[in-house]
Amino acid sequence: MMRQVSEVIVNVTVDAVTAIKSFLVNKDNRKPIRIDIHNTGCCDCSLDLSVDEVRENDLIQEIEGLTFTISPEIHELAGDVTISYVNEKVKKGFVLTSSKPLNEWDGFGVCDLKQ
């Protein structure tokens, strides 16, 4: 069972859509993109993106032909998620912020889209 949500739970900037689509070129782009918690050690966790299957109870949302999925627990913890893409001199990648920041470093780091 999964739930296609009508309210907006994921915002994706135009640059991020472009970046995701270019990543998915030549790949099976019917697979959804999961927003999940990821811990890179020593204290604070962050949100990240991966190409994944839809799992039971997942919330899913279609944006610009892309499918985003998030588990209800993560959505409850982090709130709505905004995905942007930066390509600056010292920062390159996806930046994920959430309406209920996971911690004080919300949006500080960048992540890649993992296969």
Binding site: D36, I37, H38, N39, T40, G41, C42, C43, D44, C45, S46, E73, I74, L77, K89, V90, K91, L102, N103, E104, W105, D106, G107, F108, G109, V110, C111
Partner: protein
């Protein structure tokens, strides 16, 4: 509720924005304090205060001892606040009181230990006795200086300890600091700021600003006035900080995540290992970056081990952190709790077996709190996310393995390398395993032991740099190299001369410490000489020809009981292997002194032996210029040829077959201690050798005079040598047994050796080296043939010197210009050579004519050519000279 303010420039103050935030007790979820929330303006104010304080020198300008005194006051203020610090830390971070009560004591100890190390042991200044640049002599030393304004960003797991880990080294090494504690746990850092204020640490030296990491981090890590960032926290944030800091090239040290392996070997004490595995992962609720969260257990004890761990984990008491009976308190926040829950779900989805835990815990009498049961996953594959990603909670993966090698491979299969453990009853085996793991810390039969003097830090993505210990202090300094030129004179500066037409080097140091004992019967002096050197076990080195002439035996007799043997296997033009073979014998015989009896080949070999005997290793290790820092094995040289002057020179010429040429050890430390010039040692030298070695000495003398490095002392030595050779060579060529003339030849060779040791040689040597190396022309003969041609070439720049040479060669120069006298000197050399039957042409020495261009290209690159009085830039000049000599 208590209210805490920011500490900037020595004052507690509200945030510029007036904003505050709450700190929550994770054991009850109740707010316990409000804290001023710093923003960009406050971060900039803190940086400005630190910059001002640093630049003023009020702290950075103190001596390490004066800073230590202040740090002692600071530590005393921490002691006064000990109870408050411990209780606050416990409530703010969820640390059990049994642990938190030690934190102030540990912090005080760390401050005092590091201050003492900095004031007494730290190498603030270090001499570099060997600079490695023979052309730029001078005193070389380094000073270690504070970096400047440092930023410390710390996490929430050990807030007080982490604060001390950043404050102590940065301040003690003379820096100023802006400390940003984690927002969940800012209180202890702000109390420590009170201690600093009370201790009178000058304003701006330490600043503490609490607030959101993302916002403050962006300012702190990019501001041009910040010189260093030291961060402890997640790899993702650390990576970003490194990128940000790159823009203004800040120094960065990072202590990041880990997924450490705790390897249980099959011979481990079971009770100890189970205890170590549980303590290594569940201590402080698993919120420690170097926790041993991958417990690797051999297949044959796996089930039993998991069962025992389960039992132990289930016996752990989880309770409110201020309750002294609690073994484990709450996690720091609801987000952390959710993260742990998420990973436990991932573990189950991945197919790992949940052995125990995997659930929240309610503590009796408390509503709320972020408590989680110690959780064990068995049947974990190291590729699973729960084995690769740091969970930072009380969750352990138990992984099965079959061999020690496999355990090491699994341990290393991680992007991290921070900590790790080995449990075994065989220390040698445990250490072997520990060596194989690529990680910053390995504990054997222990876990989570930190010590002030023991460095901590990561391999791979676990971080950059080290904290704690002297290594940690180094991270808060920058190195300044200071070179103080030996001679403050433009005309003594060989490197400046690269941009000048003046090529002569005017200033010089004359250092030729060999004691020379010369004359008929000089050999007997060896008996006292060896005692004066403090030696009792001399090994005589010689070659078969010299030995056959009975010369080595004479020396053995003169040494009486002080001779441990004669080694006569030294070949002509010795190679590195010859030195190593002789050294092996000297080591075996426990020789404490080398006596060389022979020509340049034997003496040069002996010099190499003295170096390897003293320093260990092989001759090849020391082929270099001016690298020795101490006196070498004592050496008494007894020359049996009169040519090389090796008995007093600073050179050992050794053939390297790998390099395909002769290479050098050049060092004042290899000059023999004593040279005995006794004419009986050269009476048996055959005529051809007598003549060619004499021309080697003549070339040393004349080239020393025309060298860019020449000076009046060397000129004096050289001129006397030229005179003596000119007068005595015909005598010894005619009668090898003429003892008086032989002695004069020995003195001449020694003086020529002294002359070129300081003043160097020139083009004739460069050209002779080449035909020697490529066509085996004996060195002395090659020198003789080439010398007059090079003298004529050098007339352009060295006519005055060569005119003096002419005079020494007994040429009547009274009506001649310098130039004509110089040319006459070259003619006189050729006349001398003819008189004594010296070979005159390279074609007679087996050099093929077509090889001349190749020889010229080799010769122009020879080190000796650098010093030739007339600069040599065109290989065609050398081709012309070889052709003349052909």
């Amino acid at each position: 509720m208590e209210q805490y303010k920011l500490f900037i420039n020595g004052k507690f103050q509200d945030a510029a924005s007036g904003k505050t935030f709450e700190s929550v007790d994770p054991g009850t979820e109740a707010p316990i304090a409000t804290i001023a929330q710093a923003g960009k303006a406050d971060a900039e104010a803190a940086i400005a205060a630190a910059r001002r304080a640093f630049n003023s020198g009020v702290w950075s300008g103190l001596t390490p001892a004066a800073r230590m005194a202040k740090i002692h006051d600071f530590a005393d203020e921490v002691a006064k606040q000990g109870l408050r610090l411990a209780a606050t830390e416990c409530m703010d971070s969820g640390q059990i009181i049994g642990l938190a009560k030690f934190s102030p004591l540990l912090g005080i100890g760390f401050l005092r230990n590091m201050a003492l190390a900095a004031a007494t042991k730290f190498p603030w200044e270090e001499e570099i006795p060997v600079s490695g640049n023979a052309f730029g002599p001078g005193r070389e030393f380094i000073r270690r200086e504070p970096i400047g304004v440092c930023v410390g960003i710390i996490p929430w797991n050990f807030p007080m300890t982490m604060a001390f880990w950043k404050i102590a080294p940065s301040l003690i090494m003379g820096n100023c600091l802006i400390l940003k504690p984690a927002s969940y746990t800012s209180l202890s850092a702000l109390i420590i700021a009170e201690c600093a204020q009370a201790a009178g640490i000058p304003d701006g030296v330490i600043n503490v600003i609490a607030g959101p990491g993302g916002e403050l981090g962006s300012v702190l890590c990019t501001h041009p006035d910040v010189d260093k960032v030291a961060f402890t926290g997640s790899t993702e944030v650390g990576r970003e900080i490194m990128r940000m800091a790159a823009d203004t090239v800040k120094k960065v040290t990072l202590e990041l995540g880990g997924k450490s392996a705790n390897i249980i070997l099959d011979d481990a004490d079971m009770e100890l290992a189970v205890e170590g595995a549980c303590f290594g992962t569940f201590f402080h609720q698993g919120q420690i970056c170097e926790s041993g969260t991958r417990v690797l257990v051999p297949a044959k004890i796996y089930d039993q081990f998991v069962e025992k761990m389960k039992k132990r984990a289930e016996a752990l008491r989880i309770g409110y952190q201020l309750d002294p009976t609690s073994h484990m308190g709450p996690l720091v926040s609801k987000q952390q709790l959710a993260t742990v829950e998420r990973y436990v779900k991932i573990g189950k989805d991945e197919g790992a077996k949940l052995v125990t835990g995997g659930k929240r815990v309610e503590v009796a009498g408390i509503k709320g709190g972020y408590y989680y049961a110690p959780t064990i996953f068995a049947n974990v594959n190291n590729k699973m996310r729960i084995a690769q990603e740091e969970i930072f909670g009380p969750v352990v993966c138990v992984i099965k393995y079959d061999s020690d090698e496999e355990a090491v491979a699994i341990a290393n299969d991680s992007i991290y390398g921070l900590g790790g453990g080995v449990f075994s009853s065989n220390q040698a085996r445990a250490e072997r395993v520990a060596r194989g793991v690529r990680t910053g810390t390995m504990w054997i039969n222990n876990y989570h032991i930190f010590s002030d003097y023991c460095p901590f830090g990561g391999y791979k993505q676990s971080g950059v740099g080290r904290e704690l210990g002297v290594a940690g202090l180094h991270e808060y300094t920058v190195i300044k190299r200071v070179h103080v030129n030996t001679m403050a004179d433009a005309k003594t500066n060989m490197t400046f001369q690269l941009m000048s037409d003046y090529k002569k080097v005017d200033g010089f140091a004359y250092n030729c410490p060999t004691m020379v004992i010369a004359g008929h019967g000089a050999l007997s002096s060896i008996y006292k000489a060896i005692v004066d050197l403090g030696c009792r076990r001399a090994l005589v080195l010689t070659d078969p020809g010299v030995n056959k002439a009975g010369l080595a035996q004479k020396v053995k007799n003169a040494l009486a009981d002080f001779c441990v043997g004669i080694y006569d296997k030294i070949p002509p033009d010795p190679d590195l292997e010859a030195v190593d073979a002789a050294t092996a014998v000297a080591r075996e015989l426990k020789a404490d002194c080398i006596v060389s009896v022979g020509g340049g080949s034997v003496i040069d070999t002996a010099k190499g032996v003295c170096v390897t005997l003293k320093n260990g290793g092989n001759a090849n290790d020391y082929l270099n210029f001016l690298v020795l820092t101490e006196p070498q094995t004592p050496h008494i040289a007894i020359p049996t040829t009169s040519g090389t002057g090796s008995e007093v020179t600073n050179v050992s010429v050794l053939t390297s077959h790998k390099a395909g040429r002769k290479l050098f050890i050049v060092d004042a430390r290899i000059m023999p201690n004593v040279a005995i010039l006794d004419p009986i040692f050269s009476l048996s030298l055959p005529k051809d050798m007598t003549v060619s070695t004499a021309m080697d000495a003549m070339t040393h003398a004349i080239e020393a005079m025309t060298s860019t490095m020449s000076n009046k002392i060397c000129d004096g030595m050289a001129l006397q040598a030229i005179r003596l050779i000119n007068e005595n060579l015909p005598l010894v060529a005619a009668d090898g047994k003429n003892e008086k003339a032989r002695l004069n030849m020995q003195l001449a060779a020694t003086m020529a050796g002294w002359a070129f040791t300081i003043a160097q040689v020139g083009l004739a040597h460069g050209m002779a080296h080449t035909v020697g190396a490529l066509h085996h022309v004996p060195h002395g003969a090659a020198c003789g043939i080439i010398l007059p041609k090079v003298m004529r070439y050098n007339v352009e720049t060295s006519a005055d010197k060569l005119a003096q040479v002419a005079h020494a060669l007994n040429v009547n120069t009274s009506n001649m210009s310098d130039r004509d006298a110089a040319l006459a000197a070259a003619d006189a050399i050729e006349a001398l050579m003819v008189k004594v039957g010296h070979p005159m042409r390279l074609r007679d020495m087996g050099v093929p004519e077509e090889s001349i261009p190749v020889c010229a290209f080799h010769a122009i690159a020879d080190t000796a050519v650098i010093f030739n009085g007339r600069p040599v830039n065109d290989p065609n000049d050398i081709i012309a000279l070889y052709t003349q000599a052909y």
